[in-house]
Symmetry: C2
Subunit: 395 residues, 2 copies
């Protein structure tokens, strides 16, 4: 007789991405599926040097338990960086170190969500955020987006008529999965609506420092006068994901609530990882490092966009992202990206069909392409074949 | 206007231990409060060497994302070790790497608990497990313990008359907070009752390898014929806690459910930490290392027990643990350990009052003493003063 599990286990599904990623671990697969940074850009030598310093100077501290809040010098660095970029006036007590920004999403669910509560999100939105929130038995209402970002008129309509909205989840810059960026006005409006309706905003910003061109817009948090906006950040994309170090930033009273739930969740983040990153930030120039990443990803974006124009048939629409890791493709409505994927996998090419990025009404004619993880010639080879398969399916 | 939070935020409290630990970060404090391993025993040089090897040989892999399940060679090592100690026949797919064993408890809550479900536990039990489970809005029923472990007659009575019991949480070896160990018969009975009532057991075993003397009993899992028993394990006590690497072990179908909830929770554990531990286990003799830890902790346990006998007044009862990190003290019923703590803190001596280790009926005349984290002379000095303060409060 099977054990009796929690209700949530009936509707939690394995992330399609993680399942496809397992396929892509085979040799020779060309994968546009993950959100993986380019490993050849990881500062391995510098990390080796930094780890050595941390262990020699502070080894017993680095290997011991620390506080739930996280390593103070790292929290101070994050606060300073956010202050200079966002115009906030944070100190370390505005920052909780999390196990990647993904944990910031899980903790947001724990802090805010009861069964039956409502989360508002962009349509489409980050798949693993849906999974994080869904574990708290919430419902989703998708707010449509246009070329300027989330539709604020629809958002207000929904807020007016919907009880139990706990927060609005948004990725305003180089969104996952679409690669789109909200304009200034929408950012200002979201902060204003959040204040007016007394609803929290979880602003997820993993990609914002990876801008290739164009003007950088202020964060939604920059316009927040009430303290209703919380920011999720991460070192995964600007440094490396293996350490699993991210953060939640916000008003101190709210961050205290996050600290409280993190205590029971996993006590604290990896001590040595936090200290190694803090030492790296002291010793090396992270902006120069980010500059190198941006340069490479821009070239790969350029190749990807050129290939989409060259090899993809008319009637296919796609994003030209100004930064980040992804472009998003919309096929004609009758074409299923899952069918295209099946045929691509036969040729050892992988991507993620877009359907599962929609919490409610899956648009199966969409797909997400990651361009950060492979050299240009493989991007070109892979996109050429995907383009051919789509062309065949249209004829 | 304050934001509307989840119901659980009204009854989650900061862990008293973590709050006291903040006090103990001041210089010169003698602390029996934490569950901290002795940092002077951390194999710092070996970890430095191992990290260097991992970064030089497999740097790009070590700093990249990996699978939710965890690094395969580490999972294989854990499966082999459990097989040789427990008589199980695990392979890597029976093991999920978790962010410390604490995360194993949180994920257990997510896999099993709906609001209003019931968790059965020892009375008293590990405080942070209560916090982990409580976040899923469960209730607790405490099962009393005697010198042989959890009272199985009471457990059965409760199971007969209680609906919605989802699991029994137990720490059968060198229990936290009491330092007590269940006998063989109780272990066998728990597995048998778990099968008969089709209820899961979460067997938490962070201390079992730290045995100073006496016979080692088989794990409850050793007697499990149905697959209802899940084991939480950790490298925190036998290696070092700073890496935050633990595991959940159990039947493959159940572990798959844990993998599913871990995906949304934080994607995966720290990659380089997993690879560093795996490399250490290949290159060095962890049993020799554990032997060194056991030798030191045994001396400290000896000093602690001798001091309790020498300096503590009649009418005070305490455990003589055969291993692990803690002893547990019961004062006469009218004495509050919180009052004793207040007076001890004035003399810069800290411990954890026992009340919060009881989920429902706090017994305030109890306290937990950790003896693993300080040299013998500080243990003696501190316990002498605590003994004096208790003696004064009795007169």
């Amino acid at each position: 007789m099977a054990l009796n599990l929690a209700k949530r286990m009936a509707f939690l599904k394995a992330s399609e991405i993680r399942e496809i990623l397992k396929v892509t671990e085979q040799d020779g697969v060309i994968s546009f599926a993950g959100g993986l940074p380019a490993p050849e850009l990881f500062p391995i030598k510098e990390i080796e040097e930094t780890t050595r310093i941390v262990l020699e100077k502070m080894g017993t501290k680095a290997l011991q338990y620390t506080t739930t809040e996280g390593y103070a010098p790292l929290r101070e660095w994050i606060a300073d960086r956010m202050n200079s970029r966002l115009g906030t006036s944070f100190d370390k007590d505005n920052i909780l170190i999390t196990h990647g920004s993904q944990q910031g999403l899980d903790l947001s669910g724990k802090v805010f969500l009861d069964e039956g509560d409502v989360v508002l999100c962009e349509s489409p939105t980050y798949l693993a955020a849906l999974n994080a929130f869904k574990a708290y038995n919430c419902q989703f209402i998708e707010i449509p987006t246009d070329e300027y970002g989330m539709r604020m008129d629809v958002l207000e309509e929904v807020l007016k008529k919907t009880a139990r909205v706990k927060f609005i989840y948004a990725i305003p810059t180089f969104q996952n999965p679409t690669g789109k960026t909200w304009n200034l006005e929408r950012r200002r409006q979201l902060a204003e609506i959040s204040a007016r309706y007394n609803v929290a905003v979880i602003e997820d910003n993993p990609y914002e420092e990876l801008r290739f061109e164009g003007e950088a817009y202020p964060s939604v948090k920059s316009f927040d006068k009430t303290g209703n906006v919380l920011c999720a950040g991460t070192f995964s994309k600007i440094f490396c994901p293996g350490f699993r170090i991210g953060w939640m930033a916000g008003e101190k009273e709210l961050i205290k609530k996050y600290v409280l739930v993190k205590q029971g969740t996993d006590l604290q983040c990896n001590t040595i990882a936090q200290m190694t990153i803090a030492e790296y930030l002291k010793k090396y120039d992270i902006d120069a490092h980010i500059g190198r990443i941006v340069k490479v990803y821009k070239q790969r974006r350029d190749v990807a966009v050129a290939c989409l124009e060259k090899y993809f048939p008319d009637g296919v629409r796609f994003t030209r992202p100004e930064g980040g890791l992804f472009t998003w493709i919309e096929l004609p409505p009758h074409i299923s990206a899952r069918d295209i994927l099946t045929r691509c996998l036969e040729q050892k090419i992988a991507f993620v069909p877009g359907g599962s990025f929609f919490p409610n009404e899956h648009k199966e004619n969409t797909l997400r392409i990651n361009y950060s993880n492979m050299p240009e010639e493989r991007i070109e080879y892979g996109l050429k074949i995907i383009g051919q398969i789509i062309t065949q399916s249209l004829s």
